[in-house]
Symmetry: C2
Subunit: 490 residues, 2 copies
């Protein structure tokens, strides 16, 4: 923290006689200055000592105000590098942003006040999500889904729904489905649990929401893989948690750097099997390091094991949950990628002593999941369709992955460096340093190609520019044509 | 605030040399004292001025600490009557409560830290919810649901799901369903909206969560009907909002009392068509009064119009949303009561300028609702099954309501005073003042009768004791037998 930064501050207006507590005047002033753009994202703010001295007031209200602003996500802090305006705050003045009418495009005279946390959320509409073709991320080979079998199972239960099955149900989910999932996870992911620890959700986004609300209070700190999964950013933002970006290297999340940045964090969010977006598989030693940190510092590990069904290179890696002897891991999974996204069924596995709290959280968030699909899903697993479909898809995605890597070799002339292709349904192509990935994605969308830029996945300053390419839902011919078109975009 | 109350405080331990900010030491001390039971729910705490004087410190850290504790829900305040320990805090020490293993009943050595807001949630398991028989609240006549028609529609779409229908979809919901709902609400509830304002949810609980997170930041105040809907309490608690109980009288929520208790509240939650649980219908003049308060004070009205399909006495009452000229109302509805609870499809109608913020909130909370049921529901409405089913059920519930009132006359000998029977699928029987409604509910559960006690619906001190009786899912014969058994319970 240098002296100079303070001089960049616009004059701080506080009035000791206003009757409003000093700390509140201060936090209001900062919030306004940030929203109005007088303080820019990433800009350092004076130390509490320095600001108190300058304003000739006690340091306590300044500390309170900073604490409040940190909790609300207006400021962020890194150990040893001072406090600065959060980089994640949209520059377009969230608290006072102008909202447009969706139906007729009229803007309302003045924007009306909604929650600050809501104003920080990104809208769901993004150019690179529009197309269903190459290379939409997270899209399985839906044309290969056994729709006839699935429809038969759904119909079987729809025709004979009992009064009990139509009623309000257990927030934890349908018992036999929880049994089937516990067995599947034990066998295929080395997850150690019984059915009582399994909780059915509407997908991983809801599981993230439940974790955020059950484990964290507003202002609590959580380590986030950086770059990381934007859906997780949204969930923790909604809960008012303070996200601490922690870099990911070739071994997974950098645990030591996490401890340097926020030792006393309450939780960490990770995707160790196939990191989103970089595709890194977390090494065993990093896993052990993370587990001992969590145990020692009384922190929770939220393990998002999405995409773990498909692994092509190296040995299958057991889940972190299976290594955990201290009950520190909450394990998340979804059927969106293995079945189909609009099914909206996922699951989580929670430590035994947290089961009641998670049930209460699930109940508060949306009561319980639709029963009919849970019944059909139970049969789908029990009758072997699930395992068979995964096997078929694994072979298919292996082919598509090879096709994508070959197409990149063929069309890109070394301008796209492939990483993270050992597992899942997507890989990352790193761009040359001077190329703007958002601009490339926009350009590609114009050519009918959907690629997701890497840089918006960063909470902190993006350190790499790249494109995330999903290959699950595209045939080898579409892959080749998609890469050819993409090669024209930069 | 009397001087006396301060003397009840255990000695406050703060250390000016500890390096920890004074306000934080204070709030930690209060939190601990509340959780450990040294300060009891409802107990007054000293005024900030008084406590600062007693501790010989500045008033500012005391103000900050109280503000923090209010925001977290440990303290609550009523204009003119000082600040006291929140009544909603479970006496069993939430932050440090002992959690039991669900599978084997072992308790973990020491309870582990989860979010304070989560520790304040009630578990979903309650005795009076166990039975599906008389008089389970919120349970429609499921045996009269046109299952065959519904299964045919579900099957129609399940067999021919397109790749697009299996993919990630609009967080706002399926366009044609939103159109159908807008038309239905316009015609039957005088809701003024177009499809762009309709948002599909997984039910009213999720709609409440979205409202809480989009409209309120942690610590923001919201008026709650008292007694009111416990599901709403859960949602606002999760969001960290500060709930201000506002009494309900024969005209609906007491707007003037609300203004006295918390003039600057950010929002109000109401169920004006058939108040939960009392069954009051809000009068037109109260509606206008509430709308002008909201407009004047920049507040939002969350109108939960559950149960509005069935009205037996008096004229149908238009929705508050339809009277609102300032775009202040967020309107919530659900298909759980008209279709069946385990369907998990509901909807909300939001002011035009808030559409983008609500879409972002919906996306953050669980992405979007399952597509298949939305397709089937669209057909169910369009092909006239929905309107027909409502008509049939209205006649049926009218009969059942009469049967219940007659059975109460017959068996109760005046010990149960019926109120709120003009609409919906439930009514309230007020108990004599000295009868404990929770004890009666437990006793009734032992006799196979499910009645929901009134007193847990209060946020503040319960002013009435009573039983909520759902009659939707029970035949006249079951009703008579249920009331007979119930008459033996007190």
């Amino acid at each position: 923290m240098t002296h100079a930064s303070a001089s960049f501050l616009p004059p701080v207006a506080i009035d000791p006689d206003s009757g409003m507590p000093m700390y509140q005047q201060l936090s209001d002033w900062f919030r306004r200055a940030i929203l109005d753009g007088h303080l820019r994202p990433g800009q350092r703010v004076p130390s509490t000592r320095h600001l108190a001295g300058e304003l000739n007031i006690s340091r306590i209200p300044v500390l309170s105000a900073y604490d409040q602003l940190l909790a609300e996500g207006y400021l962020e802090t890194f150990t040893g590098s001072g406090t600065c305006v959060a980089r994640a705050i949209p520059s377009g003045a969230p608290g006072g942003r102008r909202l447009r009418s969706a139906s007729n495009g009229e803007s309302v005279g003045a924007a009306r006040r909604i929650a600050r946390r809501a104003a920080q959320l990104h809208g769901p509409e993004q150019t690179w999500l529009d197309s269903l073709g190459a290379f939409r991320v997270g899209m399985p080979a839906l044309d290969r889904f056994p729709t006839a079998i699935w429809a038969r199972l759904v119909n079987r239960h729809a025709r004979q729904l009992t009064v009990e099955q139509m009623s309000y149900a257990d927030p934890a989910g349908h018992g036999p489905l929880r049994e089937a999932i516990a067995t599947y996870l034990g066998a295929s992911r080395a997850v150690r649990c019984d059915a009582s620890q399994v909780l059915i959700t509407t997908g991983s986004q809801q599981a993230l929401q439940i974790c955020a609300h059950v484990l964290l209070d507003a202002g609590d700190r959580v380590w986030m893989e950086d770059p990381g999964y934007p859906g997780a950013h949204q969930a923790f933002r909604t809960a008012g948690a303070q996200m601490v970006p922690v870099p990911v290297d070739g071994d997974g999340i950098d645990v030591e750097e996490g401890m340097r940045r926020a030792r006393g964090a309450r939780a960490v969010y990770i995707s160790p099997s196939h990191q989103f977006p970089l595709g890194t598989t977390m090494t065993a030693s990093r896993r052990m390091q993370l587990l001992s940190w969590a145990e020692r510092d009384d922190a929770w590990i939220i393990e998002d094991d999405y995409d773990s069904e498909y692994r092509f290179g190296g040995k299958p890696v057991a889940s972190l949950q299976g290594l955990d002897t201290a009950g520190r891991v909450i394990y998340l999974g979804t059927f969106s990628k293995v079945m189909y996204p609009s099914l909206r069924v996922g699951y989580m596995v929670v430590p035994k002593d947290l089961v009641p709290a998670f049930h209460a959280g699930r109940d508060a968030i949306d009561t319980f999941s639709s029963t009919l699909f849970q019944l059909a899903m139970t049969d789908f697993i029990r009758e072997g369709h699930f395992a068979r479909h995964i096997r078929t898809m694994r072979a298919l995605y292996r082919e598509r992955r090879v096709a994508l890597i070959q197409a990149i070799d063929r069309w890109m002339g070394g301008r796209l460096e492939v990483i993270g292709a050992d597992a899942g349904m997507q890989l990352v192509g790193l761009l040359p340093e001077d190329v703007d990935d958002i601009a490339v994605s926009r350009e590609a969308a114009g050519h009918g190609v959907s690629v997701r830029p890497l840089s918006p996945c960063y909470l902190g300053t993006p350190s790499r520019s790249g494109l995330i390419l999903g290959y699950g839902g595209v045939t080898p011919a579409q892959i080749d044509e998609g890469v050819r078109r993409l090669s024209l975009c930069f």
